[in-house]
């Protein structure tokens, strides 16, 4: 159990069995009065927001959280299947992966946060390499890096790339922003 004084922005707590993260935290204390801890919380799976005021003596549940390293295996019928160190398969849905689903490559290692055995958050490596499958040819010899064009990577995700990038090139993508970083020379 957490005490109210343990609360801070970014802390993960459990309210009525559901995992929440504190997105905003305000310590208030009227003169001579008790401390009031005002929190805004976000449900870690469905994104619903909640506001709660805690008093110094309140206790808050700690969620049962476990972090595991998994490897991506394949996509089957709406579920992304990963494998853990024991070769056990774990299915993770689109809703939990979010944008991360565009950046999966075979065997990529990810960090998965489980709450009471259910996956609730997936952390990809900061950068992945994906092949450009479709893009218009850019002007030859143009190396200005502030001029961009749309390109599609395997899987269908579209992003902006410099003009010199061609179909078949491998792009390094920042999974946190979904943006092109540079071209990988193989």
């Amino acid at each position: 159990m957490y005490s109210a004084s343990d609360l801070k922005k970014g802390l993960k707590v459990e309210i009525e069995g559901a995992p929440y993260v504190i997105t905003e935290f305000n310590f208030m204390k009227p003169g001579k009065g008790q401390a009031i801890y005002n929190c805004k919380l976000k449900h870690m799976v469905n994104g619903n927001t909640l506001s709660k005021s805690y008093r110094s003596n309140d206790k808050i549940d700690k969620p049962e959280l476990e972090e595991k390293n998994l490897q991506y295996s394949y996509f089957d019928n709406g579920d992304y299947v990963f494998m853990d160190d024991n070769y056990e398969q774990v299915s993770i849905g689109e809703d939990v992966l979010g944008n991360g689903k565009h950046f999966l490559v075979e065997d990529i290692a990810v960090g998965v946060l489980f709450h009471n055995g259910m996956p609730i958050e997936v952390t990809l490596p900061n950068f992945v390499e994906k092949t450009i499958v479709k893009t218009e040819p850019g002007a030859r010899g143009n190396t200005a890096t502030n001029v961009l064009k749309p390109a599609t990577i395997e899987g269908g995700y579209e992003l902006q790339v410099p003009l010199f990038v061609n179909e078949g090139d491998i792009a390094r993508i920042d999974t946190r922003t979904g943006e092109y970083v540079d071209r990988v020379r193989k």
Binding site: N26, F27, M28, K29, P30, G33, Q34, I36, S56
Partner: protein, 281 residues
């Protein structure tokens, strides 16, 4: 600003004093925790030492210096902060409200050249009459109940912070006064309310004042009650300050005192939203 404060008090015949920051026995208050230091504690307020000086015969005194409160960190709170505290013999809480108003106007004139200050988009005219609101009426209006008629400690602080304070005007100084007895342990009581006021400027609590409790038996009774309540909450129970009690038995003249947060006053003039903008945390 500090010079303006000192200037004001010198002009009124107050003596600036300095009392120990590290003391053997901290103030025994329900919701204020002291940091330990060496064999003693860092003071949470200079109150009890200043009162001992009043018992010893000084009549108008003030102290400006650091105070420390464990676990208090937020937009308006820093565990170490600067407190201005003053006491005046023969005054009651209304009298020191006049002192406070004059002090704040004086500081504003020195720093801004006039008694109007702009804070976070609002023009605050300190020169106009200050609005006095009773805790009863503020709570009835904003929170729908009267804590003076029937006090509920838990609900009081929650509603004060979430409903009443945000409802107070930010474009003029507001004084919330006449607190429920349960919310003002060290104040003199009169007809079921405690002679306590709190000054709000720009939506921030700036100062707190009491007509001071001078009856040693009543003070001891309240200390004991506070000790029991702290124990029930699982908090460290500080011993009763015997040197203070001895001074109180010798006699504390009728007086009133004010505690003002200097950092918050600076925030008003600096246009700061958070205390960490005006002091290192």
């Amino acid at each position: 600003m500090l010079a303006a404060v000192r200037d004001f008090f010198r002009g009124r015949g107050f003596l600036e004093v300095e009392t120990s920051v590290r003391i053997p026995v901290p103030a025994l208050e329900l919701h204020i925790d002291a940091e330990s230091s060496g064999d003693g504690y860092l003071r949470t307020s200079p109150e009890f030492r200043l009162k001992r000086l009043l018992c010893a015969g000084l009549e108008r005194i003030y102290e400006m210096g650091p105070c420390f409160r464990k676990g208090e960190r937020g937009r308006l709170h820093n565990p170490e902060y600067t407190m201005l505290e003053w006491y005046r013999n023969g005054a009651d809480y209304r009298g020191v409200l006049d002192d406070t108003r004059d002090l704040v106007r004086h500081v504003c004139r020195v720093v801004r050249g006039r008694t109007v200050l702009a804070y976070r988009g609002a023009e605050i005219d300190l020169g106009e009459d200050w609005e006095l609101v009773t805790v009863s009426s503020a709570f009835i209006r904003h929170a729908g109940w009267d804590p003076v008629a029937e006090y509920d400690g838990d609900r009081f602080d929650l509603d004060l912070v979430n409903t009443v304070e945000p409802g107070l005007p930010v474009d003029r100084p507001v004084v919330l006064m006449d607190y429920p007895l349960g919310a003002a342990a060290l104040a003199r009581a009169r007809e079921g309310v405690a002679e306590r006021w709190e000054l709000y400027i720009g939506g921030m609590e700036i100062a707190n004042a009491y007509s001071e409790l001078t009856d040693p038996d009543e003070q001891l009774r309240r200390f004991r009650e506070c000790g029991e309540a702290r124990k029930a909450l699982g908090k460290e129970v500080y011993p009763v300050d015997e040197e203070f009690m001895a001074a109180l038995r010798r006699g504390l003249p009728e007086c009133a005192g004010v505690a003002l947060g200097i950092d918050r006053l600076v925030m008003l003039f600096a246009g700061a939203e958070r205390i960490e903008e005006v002091r290192a945390s």
